[in-house]
Symmetry: C2
């Protein structure tokens, strides 16, 4: 498996062990991880603490994002896709989009390359979580 | 002037006095302010600490957003507009869109009512800041 997706899955698992939603994200530049994060909505009681937001924040003020790739275990929602579009991240690689359709088309419309690895581990991890925690999940996506 | 826009301007001024970018935001439900925030990118060294994001975070986990209105002194960027779309905020009232075009069309495409008050105080506050701090401003919007 892609080593960066593996790192994103590790982040997701960290979040799950903290009692959170298992979504992980990695920001990569020049083949190196420059940011990591996992969803912390429950841990921080913050509706905006999505994995990709935390990951981009953890990378710090890096100036330009045009040479970065964002990895996420799940297709980004509009909030996180909005960050991708605004900051000019050019490539997004996701583990899956079966459990959440997300804002794939919106990113593509803005010229962002979106690659879905359709990874079984990501699918199962998220699928099981949603099945057991449907209310928490729907709150997370603003439903 | 609209009392909520006045409160958003107060937030923007707070941010400016802290050495930050003068953008303020207010979240309103049933005629009451339930969240406040101002841009804290410089103060927190966080590229995602936009006024609207801080404001929505400060409102806490409120469940549904369908009966809320978001005020901002400046037209929201894609990050903040993404939050509006994802969480289902139905109405956005902005002070101005002259200094930054933002993601107005994107929100409208998603059925959000976007009202631009074209307020002179908001326009001047932001215009002066950008003139004196062009680099900081461009970094803020990912340019």
């Amino acid at each position: 498996m892609d080593k960066f997706m593996k790192a994103a899955i590790e982040e997701a698992k960290k979040g799950f062990l903290e009692g959170g939603i298992p979504i992980g994200s990695i920001l990569v530049r020049n083949g190196e991880i420059i940011g990591r994060g996992h969803n912390m909505r429950i841990q921080k009681n913050d509706p905006l603490a999505h994995a990709e937001i935390i990951c981009i924040r953890n990378a710090g003020r890096i100036g330009t994002y045009s040479d970065t790739t964002l990895y996420s275990t799940l297709m980004p929602c509009y909030l996180c896709a909005g960050a991708v579009v605004q900051f000019g991240i050019k490539k997004v690689i996701v583990g899956e989009a079966e459990n959440f359709k997300g804002a794939s088309e919106f990113m593509k419309e803005h010229g962002i390359e979106v690659i879905n690895l359709n990874d079984s581990e990501c699918r199962e991890m998220m699928g099981k979580f949603i099945q057991k925690n449907t209310d928490i999940w729907y709150e997370d996506i603003g439903k």
